[in-house]
Symmetry: none
Amino acid sequence: MSFMSKEETSNHILDTAIDLFWRASYHGVNMNELSRAADLNKATVYQYFGSKEKLAVAAVERAAERTRNFVFDTAFERSENPVDRLKNIYKNVYQTHKAIYEKEANCIGCPFVNIGVELATSSDDVRTAVNKAFESFHPYYKRITDDYQTVSVVEEPTNATEIVSALLANMNACLVASKLERRPEAILEGSHRAINILKHW
Amino acid sequence: MSFMSKEETSNHILDTAIDLFWRASYHGVNMNELSRAADLNKATVYQYFGSKEKLAVAAVERAAERTRNFVFDTAFERSENPVDRLKNIYKNVYQTHKAIYEKEANCIGCPFVNIGVELATSSDDVRTAVNKAFESFHPYYKRITDDYQTVSVVEEPTNATEIVSALLANMNACLVASKLERRPEAILEGSHRAINILKHW
Amino acid sequence: MSFMSKEETSNHILDTAIDLFWRASYHGVNMNELSRAADLNKATVYQYFGSKEKLAVAAVERAAERTRNFVFDTAFERSENPVDRLKNIYKNVYQTHKAIYEKEANCIGCPFVNIGVELATSSDDVRTAVNKAFESFHPYYKRITDDYQTVSVVEEPTNATEIVSALLANMNACLVASKLERRPEAILEGSHRAINILKHW
Amino acid sequence: MSFMSKEETSNHILDTAIDLFWRASYHGVNMNELSRAADLNKATVYQYFGSKEKLAVAAVERAAERTRNFVFDTAFERSENPVDRLKNIYKNVYQTHKAIYEKEANCIGCPFVNIGVELATSSDDVRTAVNKAFESFHPYYKRITDDYQTVSVVEEPTNATEIVSALLANMNACLVASKLERRPEAILEGSHRAINILKHW
DNA sequence: TATGAATGAGGATTCATTCAT
DNA sequence: CATGAATGAATCCTCATTCAT
């Protein structure tokens, strides 16, 4: 892995870390495998991130960015309709997981919940990073909620924050279920529940 | 730790394991700590369970049993009303986590989701045990759903299975949130959502 | 394993130990396996022999006795002719090993060389026991050598002790070879060499 | 132990392993002692060889090479006469063991038979490595046998392979005897037997 | 800056042995 | 005497991290 700019190298390490931590958990991956997977010397990885924990924090941040770009933004670009946007979010997530499932016969869950739940008690930095990641998804759900309540004539408009939380929780839950049950379809079912949340809260 | 029957010792080990795995994750606890916490020799723990992974499986099974007894059964005993029963389930969970939070300034999440998400990719036995644990909670939610739909005049009765899944997912999600946010109140919010699910699905 | 006299139990333990040490080496067998194989409590084994090392010493002694009875004595009973007696010794050994090989696809070597070589440096007691075992085989080879030199007209009678040593060494060597090469036939080849030693020394 | 090239370090580890396994058997040495004896960190040893078993295999291979160089080649360089060459082989072996005996009051036997007999049943890789080691000594004995039969007028030339096997077996046997009896002289006696084999087969 | 080589501390697991009954 | 239960001390191996160049 030569001829990369500093930023490229850094991102390459992070992408490798996201990939491995997501699939095999934080403790399930060691810095040896990680650097080999990145085709870089272990010491180089340490030069860039200082420690495994700090690497995890940075990986979470980059994963959040990627999620915003490739899950939420694309979902929003594809439609103006709030319900469709919500559907598209789940569609994006489902496609990713379905593809992985077909290649690897495994469901790998939510990269944020996975590492967050694993390290919440031992690393406050990772826990915080995961929380920030989730917070950065709020605006998308807020927009969907607000748009939906504006357009449709809702009987008694609920507090949007509550719905946002419910939608976020629903996504996490369906990814956990898909991982535990090794069933990508759990994400599809989550999609239906999400729409229900939006409509009948 | 002597003078215990074989079953007592076994349960004592399991309770210690549940406690530690729940708080510090599977990889965050080593067999040294675990045996010391149980006030037993490491070799004794191995004589009982053979390996850390098998211990984890047994711990998940026992935790499920304890959850049925102390979360669900007590919630059901306290009332016949389905909504109250649901509320009581969350109340029980909340009290447990609130108490821990006050003592340890930490939210430890769901013992099943925690270990399930951490080990799903590396241990099929643990993954399966966690799934079975969740399945063993289904009947309680099913009863609540059925009872609710019988008593109240529901406009269009939904498929109970869907609601059961939604309720289970909701519990998992609010415990994940409480852990990541270090906020026991997330469980209370989950309670409201659960009732919403029951009523307005 | 109940209803056995003290001596029966002791011998039963020893026979189990011979069997296991022979097949799997001293360090390759632990006292757990050993007692389970003997269908006895581990503590019982310790009550009879005090330690693994002492058990090994006693096992070597009993194995020597069994070898005398079942290898040498039977070989001698079957013929008066020294060459035939020598042949019969190897025949007995070969049959034992051939049978084991056919059942277990393995050659297990010489019970005395095996444990002697493994423990010579760490246990003087075992080393000595093995030496005594071999010494107890001397008279048989001596008798064969003497008888042969009496009957046949040997040009220049060699020192019988030398021949005895050569014969003993030859047996050990061919059993080592059969073990390393997993080839019971090495014992047959050893038989030919033995006769050569007797005749052409 | 720094400032060594990778190959030097590797060889240094192997030489230490040969030394210790030879003297104290495979199970009699643990990786802690071994790495300390090599003045290297345990993890370094593992980085080089992966496991104790693989280290043993590599050690057997290197020991074979060393034996070829320092026992057989030097014996061949010192003389052209086959009998003298055979004598020199035993002389080399005897001197090594005599020196060890005088320093350590112990006879350590044959590095190949020792580990081969100890591990034959549990490690096929080691067993195979030992067999290959012995096979690599064949050519030397073959050459001696052929040369001897060419020079001297042998009555009825025997199959050389048989003699080679007999010579190899004889070396193994006398080293086993010297170890069990703690008597380096057993090697000298083996030398006489070897010459006998060569001459009077 | 980048890396090949090395390491201290710990991780799961096993072993021979000993109690308490 | 026999045994179910327990244990201290190892044993093999791995990990995150650092050093020397």
